[in-house]
Amino acid sequence: MKFPVIIKRILLPVLLLLSAGAYCAPHGKTLFARHCSACHGSHGMGGVGVPIALPAFINSVSNTYLTKTIRHGRPGRIMPAFEKLSDAQVVAIIKFMRKWTWKPAPNEDDTPVVGNKKHGRLLFARHCARCHGKDGQGGKGTGVTFSRKRDLPIIAPALNNAGFLAAASDVMIRDTITFGRKGTPMVSMLKAGLSREDINDLVAYIRSFTPAANKRAQAIHASGDLSPIITMASPYGMKETIENIKQAIINQNFTLIRVDYLDHGLVTKGHEDKSKVVIHFCNFKFLFNALAIDPRVGMFLPCRITVTEKNGKVRLTTVNPQRLSKLFNNHELDESCRAMHKVYQSILEDATL
């Protein structure tokens, strides 16, 4: 079969080039699966992260809001800042998200909303603080995770978060308050009895939140012992040190789980390196509370202390929970990690006294 010259020489190469371009273009579905679905769910209906596929959300937020959210994340509220994604990749992800409802993105409207901040503050305390927190710090815990009751489809967002304030326009905040978000506990404040002026006042108050409102949380997050490990030398021999640690664990109301060689399971039984022993322990209440704050912390659990002996000198080493808490971008975890740091230190001190 012979193709006309025009098809062979022009159309065919053009078509092939176009298909090659499409082949190279970022694929929104793939990118979403790689970067977003672990938290937001395969279909965007939430998990550790919030349910972004809810029509009341996705249909009401502009592409600018989504782009800024992806770029800035939510400092201290789990959602990381995806700084390494290219602009084309961000666009591809947003295009994919739009396909959940096939509705066009609303236009970005950056008209400032003018209102009475003082009055907004009173209204916020009365109508918003119960869910969003006194200072707009948001609800506790992560999204729809196993670690808490699934009676709420969403955790109230932190309105004082630097990422949120950078991403949300006044008009978007106003519309959310005015119309609510169907499928979440966020009701229409207009229907709840507030006037349009009241809502403008609320916007003015929320807009007055600055990242400084997060100052305390950020200070805690940035402070403390940030070395990767906590370590102490023991004046005792290996055996005695291990016994001391066991007792110290019990003294701290923790339960001893097991004592293993560090290379247990890596080498055949009997050939382990006897100079490296790991003591695993747990406090189930503490564990449960930690998982309720952030289910991802399990990867550093159960608690463990490694005892090593070299040239007759015994050393105790543990991970530093304060340092690890930095990995999670979750300010709520910081307090628990600080507490855990104290526990580790006390056990190490008790065992080496």
């Binding site: 020489r9 190469p13 092939l16 080039l17 090659a20 371009g21 082949y23 190279c24 970022p26 699966a33 790689r34 970067h35 679905s37 672990a38 769910g41 395969s42 998990g47 550790v48 994340g73 990381p80 700084e83 390494k84 994604l85 990749q89 729809v144 995770t145 196993f146 990767p228 370590t231 789980i257 560090l262 290379d263 247990h264 399971g265 890596l266 080498v267 490296k276 747990c282 189930f284 209440k285 564990l287 449960f288 998982l291 289910p295 991802r296 399990g298 990867m299 550093f300 659990l301 159960p302 463990r304 090593t308 070299k310 050393r315 080493t317 991970v319 930095k326 990995l327 999670f328 971008n329």
Partner: protein, 161 residues
């Protein structure tokens, strides 16, 4: 074939080849944080099986599977399925902890895997976080581990399809 046509054909196929070979670069994972996460649409038991198979295929040994949920439910707490999988290669772990005793606190590395309704979420620390604790010449070990984690997670995603 005319010379111009020949040139164009060569140019076109070069572009096509570039596109094919560059595609993995364009879709290379760009994880935002020090945590690496993946969601599997498989239920927990199937996802766990996929994880264990892939870990072994990548040459790692599973040293232990810690059943976190069992401990919690045993103490009266309500929880979904939650396990911590310890993995490593004997030679590398021995080498690292002998040369860098501080690393003993983190070895062997762990992957946590937990059920989230009908799906499963897996999380691990990016092995690159250990790199500042070692000499430059040994950082390559963690880069390899990182690449293997991506590959294991790709297997988990592929099992959904």
């Amino acid at each position: 074939m005319k010379p111009v046509q020949k040139k164009l054909t060569t140019w076109f196929f070069s572009c096509l080849l570039c596109a094919v070979f560059m595609r993995p670069v364009f879709i290379q994972p760009v994880y935002a944080s020090d945590l690496l996460m993946v969601r599997s649409q498989q239920a927990f038991p199937e996802a766990m099986l996929t994880l264990q198979t892939s870990i072994k295929e990548h040459g790692y040994t599973i040293t232990r599977v810690q059943r976190v949920d069992v401990g919690l439910t045993g103490m009266g707490y309500h929880t979904d399925k939650y396990r911590v999988v310890f993995v490593g290669k004997a030679k590398e772990i021995h080498y690292l902890v002998n040369k860098y005793p501080a690393l003993a606190a983190y070895m062997p590395p762990q992957i946590s895997i937990f059920a989230e309704q009908g799906e499963t979420v897996l999380v691990t620390a990016n092995p690159e976080i250990y790199a500042p604790m070692v000499d430059d010449k040994d950082k390559v070990i963690f880069r390899r581990w990182e690449s293997d984690v991506y590959s294991v997670f790709d297997d988990i995603r592929a099992a959904d399809e």
